[in-house]
Amino acid sequence: MNIVVCVKYVPDAQSERAFTEDNTTDREGVDGLLSELDEYAIEEALKIAEAGEGEVTVLTVGPDDAAEAVKKALQMGADKGVHILDEAIAGSDAPATSLVLAEAIKKIGSPDLVLTGMASTDGTMSVVPAMLAERLGLPQVTFASELTVEGEGVKIRRDGDSSTETIESSLPALVSVTDQINEPRYPSFKGIMAAKKKPVETWGLSDLGVDAGQVGQANAWTAVLETTKRPPREQGEVVADEGDGGTKLAEFLAAQKFV
């Protein structure tokens, strides 16, 4: 079972995040890390590989620092890494990113399974997995909160608001996983030390046969025109209980349409 896990390097959600002048995410002046939602995909890949045979390749598209995301995945236990690094990619939208990922996966080989997180913690669009599956011609099985490999296929559980679906797919397939699927491991001492010896390849657009005119901010299908800082949260309403506290609370909830 050969698995490719797509991971993204994102600005740390714990620190102050900002936009640059051209309205793209500021990736220079901030601390970055492996998108936490991708850790679940890595963990799931490692569990599948550990239960049988196979290899886990971690793939990222991003600037120089994105190598850190690959490194973290290797420390957790992935076998090898691929980093797509090309200045022309900066500012790419989801269709372009999925194109680059698709071409990279074709170059890596034909994996049995492509795993992704449910969304990145910066863009939170959740569209790249679907676009990537389409480009690769793979069945897309998204938002898995449980994943089992059974013979030649996979079975997932997808939790909805009112129902839980069980979805089966043949392999190869693309599966995106939620933060309910597992508890990602910490890299162990051994994992941290072993990661340095694992192979990482860095490819540019020319290695993938992708034209610079297909990617980048200038070729994006969408453009961000304006960004506004979220206004500071206002002080909540304090209900003083003068014997009618319960009634006032109920009125408040009803006015806000919570009840």
């Binding site: 420390q75 910490y186 941290i192 030390m193």
Partner: protein, 379 residues
């Protein structure tokens, strides 16, 4: 040997683990006297169960210099949990260094993964500082040894799977002591009640009673008469780790106090603007820095097997555990009344760090060890 080139990443990982898995629960574990064996097992999976143990039996193969940095990070979340991991490592590495290959292969893999825990059993009711006066006996019998006696204040007792017990096989004094590995299921082994303590509540402390406990001959570590030396060698490193646990705890208390002074308003502004409090912070920061430097230096000496390393470890243990207790206590003072409340976490650190001045050799005994070496002209 020095800190490994990966130490920054190893420490950062340990800090993340401590922040996520230990810190949020430390207060409750203290209150409930809960020993978090599940979290210890998770720590074992990261390599924290056999930090210096060789890799052939599942250890991490790191250095003492790595160890003190790792324990500092762990202890920022809870000095008590960190200190138990230190004791477990001490007992485990005694089997690693003094044991035969067969003994290492039998016991260490389970201990290094922390699926099994270990206790270090030296102190007795009548023999604490004067440990060489211990009276637990190990009598040679046909196919091994028969152990009789009682050990006092044993960390992890009742939970541990493996007890490293120092007992007398020969005449009086240190040369008559041997070290044994006693498994938890040995017949005749029993435990006292969990002691009610000032701090260190997240790990049990119990009496260990050996009433005609039979162990096969291959449970002896090293040779007869080497037990005291094995126990003392274990303590050299143990003392540095306990000191590192004081440093981590004190650093956490300092960080909390600094944050508190920034936000606490009095006399028309944040308290941090009071110069006398700034001076207190400056003194605390100096003690933390000096402690860290001494620890790193002593760990290097131990890694290098430098002559006089035991004396260096002794002075370091005393200086660091005393200085860091003062830092934690000052942090409590800077918190005012809130410092005295359990909810704010600072009084717990003070209670936890207090015992580091007493165990693994009291700080007076650290003076004895150092002074003895000075008098002999070894330093």
């Amino acid at each position: 040997m020095a800190a490994s080139e990966d130490i920054a990443e190893l420490s950062a990982m340990v800090r993340q683990f401590a922040d996520d898995q230990i810190a949020p629960h430390a207060g409750q574990w203290d209150r409930d006297k809960h020993f978090p064996v599940d979290v210890l097992k998770a720590a074992g999976e990261l390599g924290l169960g056999g930090i210096w143990v060789a890799e052939d039996v599942g250890g991490s193969g790191l250095t003492r210099a790595d160890g003190v940095r790792i324990f500092e990070q762990l202890a920022t979340a809870c000095p008590t949990v960190a200190a138990y991991i230190s004791i477990h490592n001490m007992a485990t590495s005694m089997i690693d260094t003094a044991g035969t290959q067969e003994q290492r292969e039998r016991w260490i893999p389970g201990l290094a993964s922390m699926g099994q825990l270990a206790s270090y059993c030296l102190t007795e009711a009548g023999a604490g500082s004067d440990a060489a006066a211990l009276r637990t006996t190990a009598r040679a019998v046909d196919d091994g040894y028969m152990l009789d006696g009682a050990k006092q204040f044993i960390s992890g007792a009742g939970t541990s799977a493996v007890y490293v017990v120092m007992a007398r096989t020969g005449g009086s004094g240190a040369k008559g002591v041997s070290a044994f590995v006693v498994p938890a299921d040995a017949e005749g082994l029993s435990f006292g009640a969990n002691e009610a303590k000032m701090g260190w509540n997240a790990q049990p402390t119990r009496e260990v009673v050996l009433d005609g406990v039979h162990v096969p001959a291959d449970h002896l570590l090293g040779e007869e008469g080497q037990g005291f030396a094995i126990a003392m060698r274990g303590l050299d490193g143990g003392r540095l780790n306990i000191a590192a646990c004081s440093l981590g705890g004190a650093q956490a208390a300092f960080d909390a106090a600094l944050a508190h002074l920034r936000t606490r308003e009095a006399f028309g502004g944040p308290l941090i603007e009071q110069q006398s409090l700034q001076f207190a912070l400056a003194d605390m920061a100096t003690k933390l820095h000096a402690s860290r430097l001494m620890l790193h230096d002593a760990a290097d000496a131990l890694d290098a097997g430098a002559p006089g390393a035991s004396a260096t470890c002794a002075m370091t243990k005393r200086f660091v555990t005393d200085s860091c207790f003062e830092v934690a206590n000052s942090a409590l003072q800077l918190f005012g009344g809130y410092g005295y409340l359990w909810e704010y976490g600072v009084e717990k650190i003070v209670r936890d760090l207090r015992v580091h001045q007493i165990l693994e050799g009291t700080n007076e005994i650290m003076q004895v060890v150092l002074a003895r070496s000075l008098v002999k002209g070894r330093r």
